[in-house]
Symmetry: C2
Subunit: 224 residues, 2 copies
DNA sequence: AGGTAACCTTATCAAACGATAAATAGTAGC
DNA sequence: GCTACTATTTATCGTTTGATAAGGTTACCT
């Protein structure tokens, strides 16, 4: 093999340009793989190959298996990492805070909600996962109904001075009405990150109009 | 291998139960494969294996290659078949027919539009295709803008007695406003066929509310 | 009936892909 | 500077998967 004698300049090469750290503490490497896996699978889907992922990370393929026993395990870690940002109580509180006008609350809510979920990775992994039949999505949808849309329906009733309480449950029609707005706004992100379509930059303005329309629609019909 | 002597009862077996037609005219077989491929890829995605597809059709895997030179060719035929139902001029005409109230037109429009596209196969293949980065989707989206949403914006202007013409082009905000409704209604199908979530049965009622809200939203804000 | 064209299957290849074993090389502690 | 530990690589295995070749079987035509 004609090995060149002496190890001079054996490895000054650095692909990444900057710091090409060779050996990392296990925890760091794991996080690095995970982060790249999120980007990678978001881009190509979960049928993406481990070899290509490894190449993007800048490591060899077998090293993946040092940190994740199987590809499936890695994928599940990706889900956990991406969907960790749960719909927490504070988001619901934002909606139900009656000291402020409902419109303002919804504007604020969607600002934060979009910040947390309308990203390339989140949207695409969410859609890939849904198409796979993953349970996470159905669970997430019912979480959205419980923690966001039904509270919102209740606020709408209050806003329109309509009766509210366990004896007058939120109807299917009311729920679907807010779903159209919520889904319409979500679809904005789908157009952007899944279709790679050009969308208006001013999302706040879109939300403002959508919220106004939704509320106007309620009063135009009478809620329950 | 101990071959049983005599070919008695060589092949009276029929897996499919009913009519298990053995040999088909080429055109029929091709259509049969194509139909099953649509269902199959809609279900599992385009990473689905040719062997499993063949099994569903009830034929052997090499036979697929008699009708479609490569898997990619089959996939492209699937796209063509599914997205053949184009957004044609009649759909646009439905929207621009000013002899009827705009609300009625939109109701009719979405009835037909949903009929054509809100199916298990269409929605899922559309999403799979989009995630793959297929150009079809971007082209479809711009078709929707040209043939549906922009005409709709024009009708909305007319409906609100607002100026209309080449000197006052449809603004980004106006377009996004109808996108929220359109996307919200599309998202109904996504919830149904991608998330397998329970959705309200009465789609007409949902459209009625969504249209009313969208129009109310326009008047509440002033259009351009 | 018999020949023949077309439909279909069996057997198999080669590359791709997830996963493993063994060897190598960087690094920390003494 | 030596040792020991572990991060990383090289080499490779077994299966899966798209695709092909060649033989068999059905149905049509005269």
């Amino acid at each position: 093999m004609l090995r060149r004698r002496g190890k001079r300049r054996a490895r000054p090469r650095r692909k990444t340009g900057g710091k090409a750290q060779k050996r990392l503490p296990a925890a760091d490497r794991e996080q690095q793989i995970l982060s790249e896996a999120i980007r990678f699978f978001a881009e190509v889907g979960f049928a993406g190959q481990t070899r290509e992922l490894a190449q993007r990370v800048g490591i060899t393929q077998p090293l993946l298996y040092r940190y994740f026993p199987t590809k499936q395990d890695l994928i599940e870690r990706v889900f956990k990492e991406v969907f960790l940002k749960r719909v927490d109580a504070r988001l619901t509180a934002l909606i139900t805070d009656r000291s402020r006008p409902l419109e303002d609350r919804l504007l604020d809510f969607y600002r934060r909600y979009a910040d947390a979920t309308y990203s390339y990775e989140w949207i695409r992994i969410y859609m890939f996962s849904a198409l796979m039949g993953n349970d996470i999505n159905r669970r997430y949808i019912s979480l959205v109904e419980r923690k966001i849309l039904k509270p919102l329906c209740a606020e709408i009733r209050h806003h329109c001075r309509l009766p509210l309480g366990p004896e007058v449950p939120i109807s299917e029609a009311e729920l679907e009405h807010v779903w159209v707005m919520h889904g319409g706004l979500f679809y904005y992100a789908v157009r952007k990150y899944v279709y790679h379509s050009r969308v208006a930059a001013d999302f706040d303005a879109i939300v403002r109009r959508a919220v106004k329309a939704m509320l106007a629609g309620v009063t135009a019909l009478g809620a329950p």
